[in-house]
């Protein structure tokens, strides 16, 4: 991988992590405030389950639960997005070793989700 291409990939990943963290924390913080405004308190309100369908309807109805899960899922997805971006960068540069490693990391993450879904 040439120095320039590697640098460009690293810069893109740094920007993704920076913007991704800030936006997900902002969503989470805003959702906390919405929850407070709606009178939902920690330990007093039953935790809503994480279901994608329900999350979408909560978001459309501007219910705080939707935003809470959106922010937390964004946080959880950020590392996978970082690996995906690295995979694309390495693949473009024709770096087979790094591409294989990045693809394997993504595969392990996907396996985690699959196993957790099966057990959950």
């Amino acid at each position: 991988m040439t120095e320039t291409r590697a640098d460009a990939t690293i810069d893109r990943i740094a920007r993704l992590l920076s913007a991704g963290t800030l936006s997900s924390v902002l969503v989470v913080a805003a959702a906390s405030l919405l929850s407070l405004a709606a009178g939902r308190a920690p330990f007093e309100t039953a935790a809503p389950p994480v279901e994608l369908g329900r999350m979408v309807s909560d978001l459309l109805a501007l219910r705080p639960e939707g935003f809470l899960w959106l922010g937390l899922l964004l946080i959880l997805a950020l590392p996978s997005a970082r690996v995906t971006l690295a995979l694309a960068g390495y693949a473009r540069a024709g770096d087979r070793y790094a591409t294989a490693v990045a693809a394997s990391v993504l595969a392990v993450l996907a396996l985690s989700v699959a196993v957790a879904l099966t057990l959950g």
Binding site: D7, T21, V25, A41, I75, L76, V113, V115
Partner: protein, 326 residues
């Protein structure tokens, strides 16, 4: 309202301490939630994993921007930590909470010990004439401290926050493994400084162990990863710390999905804690040069020791600090 603010405040304190002392917030979040709010150990770990993903992502952005983290090495090792995270996520629900609490107590005791040792080493370094055995400047910028603080591992033996790194910067003789320096390896640590990655298979195996520890304890795992990279693999300490930080996100997310999909994440608890940790770590990184870190470290060690004893007591079925939530 009060509970949300208390959770956010606790998260902010954990994040600030973590940033100032070069630890992730996880080591404080788990005891904070379990001991103060009576949250179950697994639920606390779940929240902590989300918080460490947040802080590590923010820190990794800075480390990558500055070319301190070794992306290629990090991705190679995070293949192992992610597998460890997956295994840890699987067994976390099979182990008893008491056993997990006992493991956490031991980890806290070990961290206290290494922090005390790091403090002693830093004091020795302060007495060392300038230019001897140090390779970095001693006054890091706020952004550099943010990255370090949002990381997880001054506990490796030397505080990156002080800017003192005893690593030689070169790997020395290559042993039995990977002796290339990666093409996109850390140019800032970096640019002009080369090192040789040694004993990759051993480092890979130990990284898997770090992933399991992180998944079970809700921490970044730098406690294991940084010494492995630095002492076993010959990676300079500063690069090891930055690379460990980079790896936390993937490691934690591999196990966090288990907690999430098994209903261990309460978003009403997680959200204020995550936001608080981020704010606390960011704020602390900007005021780090005004804080007496040695005093803070001693205070932190005292807190860790107390929490360690309390956790051990919980593991044995009683409590010194009885604060049940209900």
């Amino acid at each position: 309202m009060a509970l949300t603010l208390l959770l956010a405040g606790g998260g902010a304190v954990a994040g600030a301490f973590g940033a100032l002392l070069g630890l992730g917030g996880g080591i404080l979040i788990v005891p904070f939630l379990t001991l103060v709010f009576g949250v179950s150990f697994r639920e606390a770990v779940a929240v902590s994993l989300l918080a460490v993903i947040t802080t590590s992502s923010a820190g990794a952005a800075v480390y990558l921007e500055r070319r301190v983290a070794d992306l290629r090495l990090g991705m190679t090792l995070e293949l192992a930590t992610a597998v460890g995270g997956l295994v840890g996520g699987l067994i976390a629900f099979a182990l008893s909470e008491r056993l997990l609490a006992a493991g956490f107590a031991m980890m806290l005791a070990y961290t206290s010990f290494t922090m005390l040792r790091a403090g002693r080493r830093d004091r020795t370094a302060a007495m060392t004439p300038p230019g001897v055995d140090t390779e970095l400047s001693s006054t890091p910028s706020p952004r550099a401290t943010l990255a370090t603080g949002l990381g997880d591992a001054a506990v490796a033996g030397s505080s990156d926050a002080t800017g003192v790194d005893r690593a030689t910067g070169t790997g020395g003789e290559a042993d039995d493994a990977e002796t290339r320096r990666t093409a996109d390896a850390p140019a800032g640590a970096g640019r002009g400084e080369s090192y040789v990655v040694r004993r990759l298979p051993l480092g890979f195996s130990l990284s898997a162990f770090a992933g399991i520890v992180a998944a079970l304890m809700g921490v970044g795992g730098g406690l294991v990863k940084v010494p492995v990279m630095h002492l076993v693999m010959g990676v300079p300490l500063r690069v090891a710390t930055a690379t460990s930080n980079l790896m936390i996100g993937v490691t934690a997310s591999a196990s966090a999905v288990f907690y999430l999909l098994r209903g261990a994440v309460d978003p009403y608890v997680a959200a204020p804690v995550v936001a608080g940790v981020f704010v606390g770590a960011s704020a602390a990184s900007r005021m780090s040069h005004r804080v007496p870190v040695p005093i803070l470290r001693l205070l932190f060690v005292a807190v860790l020791m107390y929490v360690s004893i309390e956790m051990a007591a919980r593991a044995l079925g009683f409590s010194l600090l009885a604060v049940p939530r209900d």
